[in-house]
Point group: D2
């Protein structure tokens, strides 16, 4: 793997200076250490926030379309370095190169979107009930935004937040996963290029802090950070959210998913098979939107499951850097252990497991490749209701759609879901108020792979946050409801009389 | 005060059954006990939530325009009982009758608004990047909503929440202030009338629970309540928010304000004087939007302050039930003590206090009337930066607008603010990204008395929630981003290739 | 028919004064003259417009929520007189009483909608590209609106326009069909009641002019009428539109439809049959959204057509005033002749006609009742492509959906359409950019009977106008894009330098 | 002027092939013929439309974000050729190079905006009043769009239309002014470059037709062109609009303006002077938004007018290709004559003219340079109420703001207006429903130079069209209101009962 240095260099990073820190960066590709980076001292976090605040004072009064121009230039940098950054994602996160590039494409897409948005941060003008009065709603920058991201989408989720935050007038403090700081450094570098090209931009619009939970906590607790956008597990969310809430700050949470699929009798199985495989084994099952549960109508179960097994048998497991690989490694040994524990529990619950074994151990003794697992379950036991961050897909039968929907909804998380059906009524029922309770609801597509034009996020223990498209930008701004009296009278709302005499 | 029984009766309540509980309801008008109501046993709260859930299952599939019709009928009930309910507000909360009726008018307004809204719970249809795909955003009912309201707006804030929640498809569990359950019972009764008129409505759409903090906590902690809408002090918010966050629920917080005013040299003092008096002494200074701090340009200070003192001297203090009264009682003795403590501290900080003494002690020995206080402060000391729920207005001088804005913003709360100026540039600067940091920003109107058409709420320790107009309704719904593939292909977003071979 | 006088009286009209004009009002129920009303002299139209302008000057500055209150009160009047007004609609237009009441319900619905709208006439606040600048979009009243309505919806369409126009701040000048002035007088009377209840409303907010084309033309040509909203035939539209355009005015046109239905193999025929009958024979086929063409898949044609014939055979033809009647009379003898001519042509084109004969001639010798006609056509000939305002439904077969859609779109009009299918792909294809080209597109509902929450109207020769819900209100207002410079500089947009030196 | 060939070449055009047609292209810079281009035969227009239709069939189903990618690439081409295209604008239209580049910048801006928009062509999802029903509003491509543009903005206005039309799925047929086809050819060439880069784009998305009125008429009358977007004089609009209306097509008209300014006593004259000069003499007074009328408060009139005269005296008149020039030539001799005739009439009406003489006649005997004119008018006579496309600014006094607004509004056009004031009340009054009646309303900026983020266009004889930002894109699409019944029942809207029995 001589390639990492070249990749870092192409992204403007000096590999040699990335060998001196206390944090060992291990590539899941082969388990080797590819860098050693210094952690940000906890005591330094306050200074980082202070610098962000200074940047904020200047940036908030820069016209939004000019802020958009910065993001446009950043998008150009990303276009220019799509392959390099995609490859670095593969090195650090272990996802296949095709997905690595897809992640960068998502960054580019959100930049394009944010550029347009920079002239569309629309508030409302509103008719007042009082003569000679005018009302309007304005949206203003809110302040420094902390972005805490996870290893599995090391760059895209940050870019969703950052493209919007910057356009909205907010500096960003980024704490990447301690497993993936290199991609963060690379992004910061590219961002800096865009800053230079635009010129006249305050320093420290994007800052990276690296470290473990203590660094994150320092950030989360800082009252000068009005918004904490955190992506990760529900466990992480349950730790972060109350801390932010205790200081009456704002959280934007993108937590776990236990994403389900319903396969109806009328489903087009030629779509179901590839849709299932991509959703369940893509990123080695380590997407928050990975497919984890399938409810298959009993009339098609026996047809579909063998086809799935065959497809699973044919997916190529291998180095994610190599063309043709569809399944790369798990992030680390702990992930492997969790997966095995889950499979053991599933078996104990009566599940029939296919796959799930360690793979490529000879070639990559220090890495954690697995064959993706299909588990035929007699019922939705507790382990099925638990999100295991690995390529495990639980298969269950159903007879009535209502029942399948009820079981589908009977998990704590609420991120993504899908139905495969060609029956209009079933599709509509699934999308209705009484249907799926997730934030992303797909028909004839797997649960993963969202477009940036829609709002991304979920309900229940997924945390309720929305990022990316639609009006998600509002989370990065503060709203003011303005009423202007331009008359010479002072009537009260609701027609109240309050007469001082005279 | 023989009137309370008549009032209760007119609202469909039986005064005699309201004499048996452990919670003594004391009217601030004269300090007498007007009712004794039973508290909801903490153990009963779970059943209340369960009933709300059952109601939810049915209500969520009722078409929104029909849900709107229920609110229209409720608005009709309110129109019919405006005076009675307004008077009961006066009895329980002590605000003057004119303001009591204003509060009911606000309920009526929000009902009208919500009826229209019932056909306008708009999501978006969105162009997909994939051929043969369609995207759309839908908004669905979210589940039972807990509404925790405060004594000072015993009915309006609940109605803001409830009119929207019901139209959005959510049942409501209302915990009113333990000081004002009677108005809650009355509202529930009127709501029940509307339910009867519409017919075919699930039971328990609106339920009232009464009690102290423990009842509230049981509600706040219940994972079956996806949204907790709480109005009250920042202290309360800091208690509630982390509990809801710990279970990854959603909070809508309307907490304290320390609302400021800037009086510029060009201000029309004929508007400033009544605007100040209404904002500062209305509801005896016990509105969350009450004016508490005034920054007066040194060029007009000496002109304005005597006029304010004169106006303060002339406001009639008296029973809020009597016509002509502008200042009624404080809610209780504790409020009086807090006020006195604040005034003492202000004096210690160099402040010059006018007013603030107890009033009408002879006539109402058990009630807590005060003359509203003006306090000329040499600077913005800690007591000025603290919200004291009483009619205290701190007066300070300024020379430069930038400095006045900075001092204005230098408080933890961020609810409401205003500037009196006829200078366009000053007004715009105050409303700009670098201006006032509150959620409500007024020009030539005091900070209190919002219209229901705008979003109501504030930033920072005010809690960030928005209620009433604009798109506040979104807090009461869950959003789904739907993608429908109606093609026979399965292209991936971001152009990712994931080829299973065949 | 002694009933007409009672009905008029209940609506506040004096039957005796309605016997003196030159316009004979003939009820299609039995062909008798029920009133004689004076036509507005053409020369008077200018005065009417002048009065509307005077009303406009006052009304435009009345706060929109107060304008909404007027519409709320008008809605109350309509609720109170629903049966009476519904019956008068039946008398004048001949539609069955159930549909007459439905029309009034639609008026009530739009009033409720408009009340909510009165606080939601939202413009946008927009980020400026220049520092110290603010942009916002405001919507202002535009001026007197001429509403030209047709006999078949004598009151609902007017109310769609008027509820919005009044809330938007515009007076209305109404020219009803010369066949249905009584309902117009009744509505104006009810509106006047609402005006009285609100009080302090300028005179002449709603004025009615009665007459033939010359009166309409005087209105259409008046440059003081910025908006002409006209409902009627394409022929009428082609006369009105260029006249308005010649003076650079604004038209809102709701013209003819030649509305089609596709019945796919998967269709639920239990829905198709009643859906077809209601859409095709409701209002005796005289709705602009009446179903006129059906493309039935060859696999279900032989199943469906007999069921349709049976259903057609069972619909009760009779006086529209009588309970149980489903098909009332045509509006007049000319309509009957057009229908017969169309059927003759269809036969000549190879069509097989069932029904279509005159009915109830004995009972109502002066009225024009017909049995609704089904015509099995070998192909879509010119007569099928022509809108005949009568209960004729042309039935055609298809094999491929693409072909059915192409034939469906191959008419000049573009109002409404529908598909009956349970196949998701077919439904989506029909609703896609390459699907139906009409303004209203339904799935598993007939083409008629829209809800007021959506925008109503169509493309191509239907005229492009949109009324009722969504953002249709914008047609009744003028938009201003405001830019406010509150800085002390004067930067130019697009970064242009234009330096005067000094 | 050897430069034109280089410029054409840099834009990919072959100067030699542009010497063979019958249309002589004369540069206003020196009156020389710079090209001879062939006119499109009238009989060819139908073929052009047919090709556009073919392109439409393919383009409408291409996902909008991909359509946006084409516009992004086009924007890149424009960035690359900003100077060249800006210079060609100067050659053909005679505006100064700085303004030429500004026009290209506007093209770039609208491209960026349209790219974002390509994921934001939002319709609405709407709650249905019927159980088991869903409503949504979709926006679809409408078909080929004819864009008729004027000489004074030879490229920007086309790009406003085209960037939106292409993103909306519509091919464009462009008829530029017969005075400025070269810039049209250059734009088409750049567009073609973008098409090549994207690949897989249907041919003929943008076609140029060249000619006089007959070519335009052929386009305007073609029923296959659903939208005609025409920019030019009111006279042109009055010719085009009825023709399009006669075939029930849709017009988007951007016609003349007679744009006014109010200078209030509190105005910052340091802004008024440059704001006036840029607005009145920019593009030699040949913008549709050029300032033509100034109402100056009598208290500042005597201060301001001398400053304006001094500034007018100092603006450099000269070749628009030369740096430092602020006023270039009029488009042709006819424009000069109109200007002189207007000045003569103004003098006859009592006006006092400063400037307005022919300039640089020695250097450019065949070109039409003038010194910009200030005309002090005793009142607003007919010539003042007339738009003369030349640098004439009429100055008038006022005493009361109401009166100034009334006189301001008393012209047939309604495009742009402004007020200079620092008085909040005056600014708000001017922006209120009773204030300025134009589509663009500015405060402390001149009437010209709009940003692309707002909707551009005006009311009254300006034609009512809106282009560029806000929701102007809707003009390029057709709206469908969809209702989907996914239940097994067929309830009717408005609760109508229509029972077939059984």
């Amino acid at each position: 793997m001589t390639d990492i240095k070249t990749t870092l260099k192409a992204l403007g990073l000096d590999a040699s200076t990335l060998q001196k820190g206390e944090l060992e960066i291990v590539t899941p590709v082969d388990g080797s250490v590819i860098a050693r980076v210094p952690a940000t001292p906890v005591g330094e976090v306050g200074n980082v926030v202070a610098r962000a605040q200074t940047a904020f004072e200047a940036w908030r009064t820069v016209p939004a379309p000019r802020r958009g121009e910065l993001i446009r230039l950043f998008g150009e940098e990303l276009r220019r370095h799509k392959d390099d950054l995609g490859r670095l994602v593969t090195f650090e996160a272990g996802k296949i190169f095709e997905e690595g590039k897809g992640e960068v494409q998502e960054m580019i897409d959100i930049c394009d979107f944010a550029v347009g948005l920079s002239r569309q941060l629309y508030g409302l003008t509103i008719a007042s009930e009082r003569p000679g009065h005018r009302m309007m709603e304005t949206w203003h920058p809110i302040g420094p935004v902390a972005v805490i991201s996870a290893f599995n989408f090391p760059v895209a989720v940050w870019s969703w937040n950052t493209a919007l935050a910057i356009v909205c007038g907010d500096p960003v403090i980024w704490k990447p996963s301690e497993k993936t700081p290199l991609t963060a450094f690379a992004c910061a570098k590219l961002f800096e290029q865009a800053v230079k090209k635009l010129g006249d931009v305050p320093a420290n619009l994007v800052q990276v802090v690296v470290g473990k939970a203590d660094v994150g906590e320092a950030l989360v607790d800082d009252p000068r950070v009005p918004l904490v956008s955190a992506t990760g597990s529900c466990r992480m969310g349950r730790a972060v959210a109350p801390r932010v809430a205790a200081r009456l700050g704002r959280s934007l949470l993108e937590l776990g998913g236990n994403n389900g699929m319903i396969v109806a009798p009328s489903a087009d199985l030629d779509l179901v098979v590839p849709g299932t495989v991509f959703s369940a084994v893509g990123t080695a099952g380590q997407r928050c939107t990975s497919l984890r549960r399938a409810f298959i109508h009993e009339d098609v179960y026996d047809q579909l499951v063998p086809r799935l097994k065959k497809a699973y048998g044919s997916v190529r497991i291998g180095s994610p850097l190599e063309a043709g690989t569809l399944v790369g490694p798990l992030i680390d040994g702990r992930a492997f252990e969790s997966m095995q524990a889950a499979l053991d529990q599933a078996r104990a619950d009566g599940g029939k497991v296919t796959g799930g074994e360690r793979a490529l151990q000879d070639r990559f003794p220090n890495a954690w490749y697995v064959s993706p697992a299909l588990v035929e379950m007699p019922s939705q036991t507790e382990i099925v209701r638990t999100e295991t961050f690995a390529p495990i897909l639980y298969l269950m039968k159903y007879r009535e759609l209502d029942d399948a929907v009820a079981r589908h909804n009977d998990v704590p998380q609420g991120l993504s879901s899908c139905i495969f059906t060609t029956d209009l009524r079933e599709a509509e029922a699934f999308m209705s108020a009484a249907g799926s309770d997730t934030g992303i609801v797909n028909v004839n597509i797997g649960p993963s792979g969202a477009e940036i034009g829609g709002a991304f996020g979920g309900e229940k223990e997924t945390g309720g946050g929305r990022e990316s498209g639609s009006d998600s930008w509002k989370a990065y701004m503060r709203r003011a409801t303005n009423t202007i009296n331009y008359s010479r009278e002072l009537p009260l709302a609701q027609g109240i009389k309050f007469d001082l005499g005279d």
